[in-house]
């Protein structure tokens, strides 16, 4: 069997994986990047709106503290505050670094990186390139990897001496010796041949889980592999009940349902209307945000030109609020003909401005829906977009609880709490990708001996992967996948209730049995039916984690809305739900953990009046003491 030895194996070639690999290589570690798609095609390429970083280029009042506060508010104070702090402090450096590697962001008049408005961000904060920021980011990182390879070619005569991309290669198991990571096992999509990586450190950067839902903005890659691999290796997941339904996905035609309509449409002036022509978001401003959002259309419209003197339009509330509002309007019978609501920018900006600022939205609607967004409104509705939950990591190093395992990007959990703000993912990838790469390098430096994968593990992994090909007459994996997607969408979707989640868990149990009996026809060469059969294990484990955590959390917060527990509870804010694998690997367990209290200098950045909406009396007393001291 093909075998490679590396210092660090990074699983994933999106923003987080590439930034981690670059860091590991810059610190002198021999690094492999393994990814399921071609190099440069990872999900990050689809990001549109921008990367949030408090550079203060457009509004000089912006700084890390404002960004930190916005992030905590957006996550309803459930965020890992240390991650939110590091993220807010380091994001500007990470964006500037991209520029030094060749990225060309849109500019302000004085030649700096331009920044745009986005939901939940107090000031214009998103560095962007039109509405294709993810492409710019992935290309820049890809080209940085190439630059390092060119350097290595000069120095060592081999461009792949220190950093090599294994594209279209899927990891199905992590390998260990005792408690510690020893490598990873996978297959080449192209040939179906197996490959083993021997490495003391693995960085998971596999992205999200959206492919367990029917209506999603996510691609086939998002089967929750990293989430499942981590659990199978003994690590914990947290916050899995929190899933972000982006308010604006396309609703028509049916085949594109779920494809994203960037929030930049609203950031740049677009408004939401119901079938009666009403800008309904004014009816949905929650109490916790009352003083930050405009209450009249006039004020909201003035805000675009004068942000100091006016409050923000309610279309720019955090995503969970907008998604629920759209859901309610449609349910109340005030939706658009194709089952969404109207998002209109055509009456708000001149046509030329729309095509300049939102070129890919213009293109997408014209090509896929026959809609010219410069002339008519779009129809949009919620779509499963992002998972806040993920591998529980140490904020500073990205280390998971398993020695040698690290995670960064969407697959990690904590940073975004119960709801992520738009633009905070791209910057998260850079900040924590770099930190995980450095964390892995430091871990290796401290090792006395490289662990070696325990005997038998590789053989087991091989047998597990081959099983669907060897069964004959089993079920079609596509059927199992479709049923899982419908179940999660309908029963553990944007609005949840106890009976429905319970029902979903029963279906998942049945699907687990069916998944064990799927058979894939054809050879090992580039066989999507076989690949899907392998992915089902991960999707089912992750879906069970989402459903079980959702059932336990008896409150509504961010990306978790319980019809039977509509309010936010300060008691629940102090609790994190941690998911682990059952000892026989057949399912998952969920347990409550205490959320550590915020450091006093950080909590002092908030006004008491605001904290009263989130914290328990006991925590408020601590706050008073902290403020008094400082």
């Amino acid at each position: 069997m093909e075998r490679h030895e590396y210092d660090v194996v990074v699983i994933g070639a999106g923003g987080a994986g590439l930034r981690a690999a670059i860091e590991a290589r810059q610190q002198g570690k021999r690094t492999a990047i393994v990814c399921k798609s071609l190099f440069g095609k990872a999900h990050t390429v689809m990001a549109e709106g921008g990367a949030a970083a408090a550079m203060g280029n457009v509004n000089p009042n912006d700084n890390w503290m404002v960004h930190f506060r916005d992030t905590m508010r957006g996550g309803k104070f459930l965020n890992n505050w240390r991650m939110a702090e590091l993220h807010a402090k380091e994001a500007p450096d990470r964006v500037w670094e991209l520029e030094a590697w060749g990225a060309l962001f849109d500019r302000t008049k004085d030649g700096k990186i331009s920044q745009r408005n986005f939901g939940g961000h107090e000031y214009p904060r998103l560095a962007h390139v039109g509405d294709r920021t993810g492409l710019e980011m992935i290309r820049t990182l890809q080209q940085r990897v190439v630059a390092l390879q060119q350097e290595d070619e000069k120095l060592h005569g081999d461009p792949e001496a220190y950093i090599k991309v294994f594209a279209e290669c899927t990891i199905t198991r992590l390998l260990k010796e005792g408690d510690a990571i020893a490598g990873a096992f996978g297959y080449w999509r192209e040939t179906g041949d197996f490959v083993v990586f021997d490495a003391p450190a693995v960085v998971l950067a596999t992205g999200g889980i959206g492919k367990s839902f029917v209506v999603t903005s996510n691609s086939w890659e998002y089967t929750g592999d990293g989430h499942a691999l981590a659990m199978l290796a003994g690590a914990n997941l947290i916050n899995m009940e929190f899933i972000q339904f982006h308010p604006t996905g396309m609703v028509w035609p049916p085949s594109v349902r779920g494809i994203l309509v960037t929030e930049s449409v609203r950031g740049d002036g677009g408004v939401l209307r119901n079938s009666e022509g009403r800008r309904f978001m004014f009816d949905y401003i929650p109490d916790v945000f009352k003083d930050k959002y405009a209450t009249t259309e006039e004020e909201a419209d003035r805000w675009y030109d004068d942000q100091a003197g006016n409050r923000r339009p309610p279309e720019l509330l955090p995503r969970d609020e907008v998604a629920r509002a759209i859901n309610s309007e449609v349910k109340a019978g005030r939706g658009s003909p194709q089952g969404g609501v109207f998002l209109d920018v055509s009456t708000r900006l001149p046509a030329a401005e729309i095509t300049r600022r939102l070129p890919s939205m213009h293109h997408q609607f014209k090509e896929l829906a026959d809609v010219d967004i410069t002339k008519e409104p779009m129809q949009v509705g919620p779509t499963c977009h992002y998972v806040m939950g993920g591998v529980e990591v140490d904020a500073d190093t990205g280390a998971a609880s398993v020695p040698g395992l690290f995670a960064a990007g969407e697959v990690s959990g904590g940073m975004h709490g119960s709801n992520r703000l738009g633009g905070n993912s791209l910057s998260d990838l850079l900040v924590f990708g770099r930190r995980a790469g450095a964390g892995a390098a430091a871990y290796i430096d401290g090792l006395a001996r490289r662990p070696a994968a325990a005997a038998g593990l590789v053989e087991e992994a091989r047998a597990e992967a081959l099983a669907p090909l060897e069964r004959t007459g089993g079920e079609n994996p596509y059927e199992v996948h479709h049923e899982l997607q419908r179940t999660m969408n309908d029963l553990v979707g944007i609005i949840r209730k106890s009976e429905e989640i319970g029902e979903a868990l029963q279906v998942i149990e049945k699907l687990k049995e069916r998944a064990k009996n799927t058979a894939s026809a054809g050879s090992r060469i580039y066989n999507p039916g076989w690949h899907l059969a392998i992915d089902l294990r991960n999707m089912l484990l992750v879906s069970e984690a989402v459903a079980k955590a959702a059932l336990l959390r008896e409150e509504s917060r961010g990306g978790h809305t319980r019809d039977d527990y509509p309010g936010m509870s300060p008691e629940w804010r102090r609790k994190l739900l941690r998911v682990t694998l059952t000892p026989d690997e057949s399912g998952v367990n969920v347990e409550e953990r205490v959320q550590p209290s915020m450091r006093s200098d950080l909590i002092s950045l908030f006004e008491r009046g605001e904290l009263e909406k989130y914290l328990t009396e006991e925590e408020l007393a601590e706050y008073d003491a902290a403020v008094k001291e400082s």
């Binding site: 798609s37 071609l38 190099f39 095609k41 999900h43 390429v45 689809m46 500007p92 450096d93 500037w96 520029e99 030094a100 590697w101 060749g102 060309l104 849109d106 500019r107 004085d110 030649g111 331009s114 390139v129 294709r132 993810g134 492409l135 710019e136 290309r139 940085r144 190439v146 630059a147 390879q149 060119q150 461009p159 691609s219 086939w220 890659e221 035609p253 049916p254 085949s255 594109v256 494809i259 994203l260 890919s360 293109h363 997408q364 090509e367 896929l368 079609n476 994996p477 596509y478 479709h482 894939s520 026809a521 054809g522 050879s523 060469i525 580039y526 066989n527 999507p528 039916g529 076989w530």
Partner: protein, 250 residues
Amino acid sequence: MGYKAKFRVWRGEGGEGRLEDFTVEVNEGEVVLDVIHRLQATQTPDLAVRWNCKAGKCGSCSMEINGKPRLGCMTRMSTFEEDETITVTPLRTFPVIKDLVTDVSFNYQKAREVPSFTPPADVKPGEYRMQQIDVERSQEFRKCIECFMCQNVCHVIRDHEENKPNFSGPRYFIRIAELDMHPYDVADRKEPAQDEHGLGYCNITKCCTEVCPEHIKITDNAIIPMKERVVDRKYDPLVWLGSKIFKRQR
């Protein structure tokens, strides 16, 4: 609304293959990639195709549809007659791995041959100052989603395998042009474009521009200006020096 379409899809691996006929359901608003996915789910689970975003953003789903290079996810079924047979084949210029999936490693190799962005040593991150108008030319080329369809249609490599070592292709001409027009890039780009990347082989047929799904004006905005400037440069090195000094001052 739905109807049954006739599809003829290239199937095969290991250097052998044939066109196979299918009859498959099509629903309103669907694109060719949806139909391929329906074939996978209902008739041919092992049919190989690349895709990711399904929205024309990642450049994975390049294929030839009725002989023309297209993105499967952006080709609507409504552009065909209902009784038309739609033929789907892999990109012709690259070796087939299986079915619609080809080996595009040639492109990644060429990417590595273009020297990377080379900023002046004394500019620190955060200090870059550029006007929108000065970055727009390079931004056009950075819209490239690496679908490699321009590489696929360029006759210099499509019809002449032997040119591959000496010719980088339109995708990498725009990469060189992008760096050349970057306000902070200080490397010499023109001479290598001609000598090492084979710009001279291009006879401006514009086939590349015609297939680009991002509507990048590959020939008019990258290749022709570079060819012109290569000529300048060959006659008068001072022109080149002057243009670089001018760039830095902006």
